[in-house]
């Protein structure tokens, strides 16, 4: 039984998806992470002034840029730490909509991201008919919640990876997860 391919998607491929990415690869899953937004957004000095990067910018570049801008601020709010973690995992953020690789399971971290993922699958045109399981777990976009979320995602992926026939069991896996963690998931089967 070959390993499943997991994709973890958040908005900017910085915090939530990367936290999960780190944990999942550490646990030996086949995992990639993505952002679904049009840009990578990082907090700025005020909520009105976020730092916006394109998906082409590498984590390293962002790290250096922010260090230059206000090292103290971005060290204090943990952004530099996060970018440092990220650049050790991969060179730059990836946009989910630009990804051509097929996954078995896509887990999103936000309802809006989930919507964007579904819309992307609809836009792709369902040519192939290969099913893909989409799951959404709402995680607040902060460091603590991202860490908790990563653990939850890892637990979920563990269940998914372990089951013999995912299609047949996904319903139960979701239900058990929801009951156990008092969380509500969104779930869908999309097709490549």
């Amino acid at each position: 039984m070959p390993k499943l391919d997991f994709a973890i998607v958040c908005s900017s491929n910085q915090n939530r998806s990367m936290a999960a990415h780190k944990l999942l690869s550490k646990r030996g899953f086949n995992v990639t992470s993505f952002g679904s937004g049009t840009h990578c957004k990082l907090p700025g000095p005020t909520p009105e002034e976020p730092n916006i990067y394109s998906f082409d910018s590498s984590y390293d570049e962002m790290y250096n840029d922010l260090t230059k801008k206000d090292k103290t601020l971005y060290t204090q709010n943990g952004i530099l730490h996060m970018l440092d973690r990220n650049r050790r995992i991969k060179t730059k953020p990836e946009r989910f909509q630009d990804c051509t690789v097929k996954h078995d399971c896509v887990i999103s971290c936000d309802e809006r991201v989930y919507d964007q993922v579904i819309e992307d699958f609809e836009n792709r045109g369902n040519v192939n008919g290969t099913p893909v399981h989409l799951i959404n777990l709402n995680i607040m976009d902060n460091q603590e919640e991202a860490t908790i979320g990563a653990v939850l995602i890892c637990e979920l992926c563990q269940q998914i990876e372990e089951c013999e026939d995912l299609d047949d069991n996904i319903e139960n896996i979701i239900k058990e997860f929801e009951d156990k963690n008092k969380r509500t998931l969104y779930y869908h089967v999309a097709f490549y």
Partner: protein
């Protein structure tokens, strides 16, 4: 460290390989494939085998597809491997190969079928279904583009069709994944076997559809495939609503339906209805989180559908569903805006049902699809009906309160977190739209409960709703919760008046109609009351409004009422007609279809016209008045007017109506003019034209100042040119002439010449006219006679007729003048006394004609006419007239010296003298100075007797002689001179004669 070295080596190897690859020619690739193939065959470990196979695939498909053909069979041989992974790989390989080269369809179909059918591994089955999903489309396109049939192609197609049937049956498979794939396959079949239609939001370039298939394809049956797609779609919708489907399958099923709706607009309506129904009646087997999940998905799908240009028709439904799903109005509007943008990109052509090419004649439609279609439609009709009834119930506060009380004890003590999560406050609670939507939700639940025949033990929970549907939905779930929320706002509202909530008695249609009719009749009778109340105008408006809305019996009653006193209620009829016209205008502005003659307006108009023609006097001008009031003329109206003009008795009115309409209603000008012209040319042609003429002349009578000579001429020109073609109408002219004014008569007399000449005097109709001589036409007849005799001799027939008419006292003596030369001598002599009594002009005419037939026409042809009387006979005859004809004799006869020569005069005198009694007028002739020479030639004795009669002559003669020259005197005999000089009158008669002279 070792790992790092290993990495380096690997990199080195790949670098070497790539450089080698670049150098490699085809043969070396082929050699490499053979080597890999051998290794793969010998390899026992499935994983390793797979590695080799993947390399081969890379080489033969990506690298050099020319090798594909040569190694295909070898690759296909691996299908018999036990390993599921290898089998799955082979399926993937088939797919890739066919994508590269569609000709391979024929080769891959058997291994594909093998891997699909003989399978106990669900993973392989799933992969086989997916493979089929792709290959079916490729094969469809491949075969559809082939014009000619071959056994090979037919065989491939049959294989794919068999697999299709098998895969559809797999939707009932025990494995969820297999079902999911099979459902996706169904979606593909519907997409492939439906027509694209005008607009799809599909951006896929490779969107294979029924459009690429000709209706006359030798292998694939267009209509059969289309019907199959329909029935599969129905299967999908039924499955979606069946409640037997689990959550995991329901999601892709909904997704598939949404995709079909987007890509094949022809199915949009069915799918919206299905999804709406699903939303209103979620499967009871779902857990709470699954419900919220499904609602989330429905929301996503509906939002996507709202973007679709086709959704414009279903906007209100979609908006209601979306607001139920918690989408704000703003979001809906934003989506709709997106759609409008799309709309401008795609031309809106929704006529997607039409096949692209002509349908095969005698096609065998599978009735299956049709029946299910009807089922869905009738279902939605029933829902609508039930919903309407529920709306009425919901408008009553009492019912709502009862509902809340009935369901409140079923609510949990604490609000469940799941409800908190998925609940969205209803923005428009208590509004009409929300109530309507709520009613629809309830109706859907009720009906589906009905359909699944679940007898609810809680059916007595809703006593107030029971008479709508006896079964109470066992799950009020979300709808019930909403009810509570909407209730709080609604109860504050003032109760709306609703007749049906007060009146419980259900009347049947017959009773309803009878009651409404009698109410209407009471209103008709209430004219006076309304008038007293100052509501006459309102009453008319109400009556007209009811008549136009209800039509049928009410309209009949109204029409009868109007025609009881059409004069008094004429305005009512006009108002009614105008109202109908306005309605028809409104209707035609909504629909683009051209005005037809079957709408309410046309019927109303036709019936009023019918009554008018039946009830009115044939010459009642009210008909014309009404016609002038007609807002829009229908073919029926034209027909009625035309019939009026054709029928005996009413034709005058019909024609004058046409005339009025042409003058006053420019719209009718062209058609009515055409009709009028038709009337003049075709049946009863002359008579019609004549009546038109007659009408014109009569109008000329009334408004003579408006009728100039020119306009009379203009109106007559048609008749005048018609006359020579059909002589019969001369009688009509004659009849009319008698009544015409002098002004008109004059014009006619002037105009008649040309047509009369064309008719000729031998025309039997003309002769008949002379026989009949209607009163007042004498001048006309005379004129005609003059025209005939002007240049030629009248025919015997004509003379005979005129003569008969004359003796029959029908004609004046003047009529004889033109034909006088054709008469017998005795007749002329007989008529002369009367003729001589006429005016000098006439007398001259008579004399001239008698003396000199055609004196003024030198080139006259035909037999030379001779006068019935010689000049001397004429003179004699004139003398025998007892009245005073002296001026005639003097003025006309004797001035014509060429005719009345001395010899003639002498002869006449001689004849007169020979008579026993000399006519009284004898001397009239001889006393003229011209007669002196004649007298001088008389013998002396005779001269004496002359003198005796007229003594004054003697003196005159004497003076005459004195004036003569000597030479002239020498010719006179002496005896005569003596007599003249010396004769003494003995008689005393001379005094009288003197006076005469």
């Amino acid at each position: 460290m070792a790992a790092v070295v290993g990495e380096d080596n690997k990199r080195k190897n790949t670098a070497e390989m790539s450089s080698m690859d670049a150098k490699e020619d085809e043969n070396s690739i082929s050699d490499r494939v053979i080597e890999l193939m051998n290794r793969a065959q010998l390899e026992t470990d499935a994983k390793e085998k797979l590695v080799y196979l993947k390399q081969i695939q890379e080489l033969v498909i990506m690298k050099d597809s020319a090798l594909l053909d040569s190694f295909l069979d070898e690759m296909l041989a691996f299908q018999h491997e036990k390993s599921a992974d290898v089998q799955k790989f082979i399926l993937g390989f088939l797919e890739e190969a066919c994508k590269k080269d569609e000709f391979l369809c024929s080769k891959v179909v058997y291994p594909l079928a093998y891997l699909l059918y003989d399978q106990d591994n669900v993973q392989v089955t799933k992969r086989a279904i997916q493979c089929n999903l792709n290959l079916y489309r490729i094969a469809f396109k491949f075969i559809a583009t082939k014009k000619a049939a071959s056994d090979d192609l037919l065989h491939i197609w049959e294989q794919f069709c068999d697999m299709k049937t098998y895969i559809i049956s797999l939707t009932q498979h025990e494995n969820t994944g297999v079902r999911t794939s099979a459902l996706k396959y169904c979606e593909m079949i519907v997409l492939t076997q439906s027509i694209k239609g005008g607009i799809t939001t599909s951006t896929k370039p490779d969107d294979i559809s029924l459009d690429m298939l000709s209706t006359t394809h030798p292998i694939m049956d267009f209509s059969k495939l289309k019907d199959e797609a329909k029935s599969i779609l129905t299967f999908l919708t039924d499955l979606t609503l069946s409640h037997k489907i689990n959550h995991t399958n329901l999601l892709p099923c909904v997704g598939s339906l949404a995709i079909i709706a987007r890509m094949r607009p022809m199915h949009f309506g069915i799918i919206i209805a299905c999804l709406e129904s699903l939303n209103a009646n979620l499967p009871p087997t779902l857990s709470k989180s699954q419900v919220s999940n499904l609602r989330k998905h429905l929301k996503i799908q509906f939002m996507t559908l709202l973007k679709n240009p086709v959704s414009i028709e279903y906007q209100s439904v979609l908006a209601a569903i979306l607001s139920d799903l918690g989408v704000t109005g703003n979001e809906v509007v934003n989506r709709a805006k997106l759609r409008i943008k799309l709309n401008s990109l795609y031309s809106t052509d929704l006529d997607s049902e039409r096949p692209p090419k002509k349908l095969r004649i005698g096609e065998n439609r599978t009735s299956d699809a049709k029946i299910t279609d009807i089922k869905i439609e009738s279902g939605s009709i029933e829902i609508n009906r039930t919903a309407e009834e529920i709306i009425q119930k919901l408008n009553s506060n009492e019912t709502v309160v009862n509902l809340v009380f009935a369901s409140i004890h079923r609510l949990p003590n604490r609000m469940p977190s799941i409800f908190q999560d998925c609940h969205t406050p209803i923005v428009s609670a208590g509004s009409k739209i929300q109530i309507a939507h709520l009613a629809r939700l309830l109706a859907t639940q009720m009906l589906s409960t009905d359909n699944s025949n679940i007898e609810s033990s809680e059916s007595d929970m809703m006593p107030t709703l029971r008479d709508v549907k006896s079964e109470y939905p066992r799950s009020i779930k979300i709808a019930g919760l909403k009810e509570k929320h909407s209730e709080s706002t609604r109860s504050r509202k003032i109760k709306q008046f609703s007749l049906s909530s007060l009146v419980n008695y259900n009347m049947n249609i017959g009773e309803k109609q009878a009651l409404s009719l009698s109410a209407f009749e009471r209103m008709l009778k209430g004219e006076e009351n309304a008038h007293h109340a100052g509501m006459a105008l309102e009453r008319i408006q109400v009556l007209v409004g009811l008549a136009t809305q209800l039509r049928g019996e009410v309209a009949n009653a109204f029409r009868n009422y109007i025609f009881e006193d059409i004069r008094g209620r004429f305005e009512l009829a006009c108002t009614w007609l105008t109202k109908e016209y306005l309605l028809s205008l409104a209707a035609s502005s909504q629909s683009t279809e051209i005005k037809n003659d079957n709408d309410g307006y046309s019927q109303c108009l036709a019936e009023i016209l019918k009554e008018l023609t039946d009830k009115l006097d044939k010459e009642d001008k009210l008909f014309t008045h009404f016609c002038l009031e007609i807002p829009r003329f229908t073919s029926v109206a034209y027909k009625v007017i035309e019939d009026y003009s054709k029928n005996e008795g009413s034709s005058k009115l019909g024609l004058s109506t046409m005339y009025e309409l042409i003058l006053r209603r420019p719209v009718t000008k062209a058609p009515l003019m055409q009709k009028l012209l038709d009337l003049t040319v075709f049946e009863n042609e002359q008579r019609r034209a004549l009546e038109n003429l007659e009408m014109v002349l009569q109008i000329g009578d009334n408004q003579s100042n408006q009728w100039s000579e020119d306009s009379i001429k203009m109106h007559m020109s048609l008749f005048m040119s018609l006359l020579p073609k059909n002589h019969v109408i001369i009688h009509n002219l004659a009849n009319m002439y008698g009544k015409a004014t002098s002004n008109v008569k004059r014009v006619i007399l002037r105009q008649i010449e040309h047509p009369i000449r064309n008719i000729g005097m031998s025309s039997p109709e003309l002769l008949k006219f002379f026989e009949q001589v209607p009163s007042g036409t004498e001048t006309l007849l005379t004129r005609i006679l003059y025209i005939f005799t002007d240049k030629s001799m009248p025919s015997q027939e004509l003379i005979r007729k005129v003569r008969e008419a004359y003796y029959g006292k029908k004609l004046d003596v003047r009529a004889l003048i033109p034909i006088i030369n054709g008469l017998e001598k005795s007749e002329v002599i007989g008529a002369l006394p009367k003729l001589m009594k006429q005016s000098a002009k006439v007398v001259k005419e008579v004399i001239t004609r008698l003396i000199n037939p055609f004196s003024d026409v030198e080139e006259s042809v035909g037999p030379r006419q001779t006068s019935p009387l010689t000049p001397s006979e004429l003179l004699l005859a004139l003398h025998q007239i007892e009245d005073d004809v002296k001026s005639a004799i003097k003025g006309f006869c004797l001035s014509e010296k060429s005719t009345f020569t001395q010899e003639v005069l002498a002869g006449v005198l001689q004849q007169m003298l020979e008579r026993t009694t000399i006519p009284i007028l004898f001397m009239r002739t001889i006393t003229t100075p011209q007669s002196y020479p004649v007298l001088l030639q008389l013998p002396a004795h005779q001269l004496e007797s002359v003198f005796q009669i007229a003594p004054s002559l003697q003196h005159n003669l004497r003076q005459h002689i004195n004036l003569l020259t000597l030479n002239q005197r020498a010719h006179i005999p002496q005896s005569l001179l003596f007599t003249i000089e010396n004769y003494v009158v003995e008689n005393g008669k001379e005094s009288h004669d003197n006076k005469e002279t």
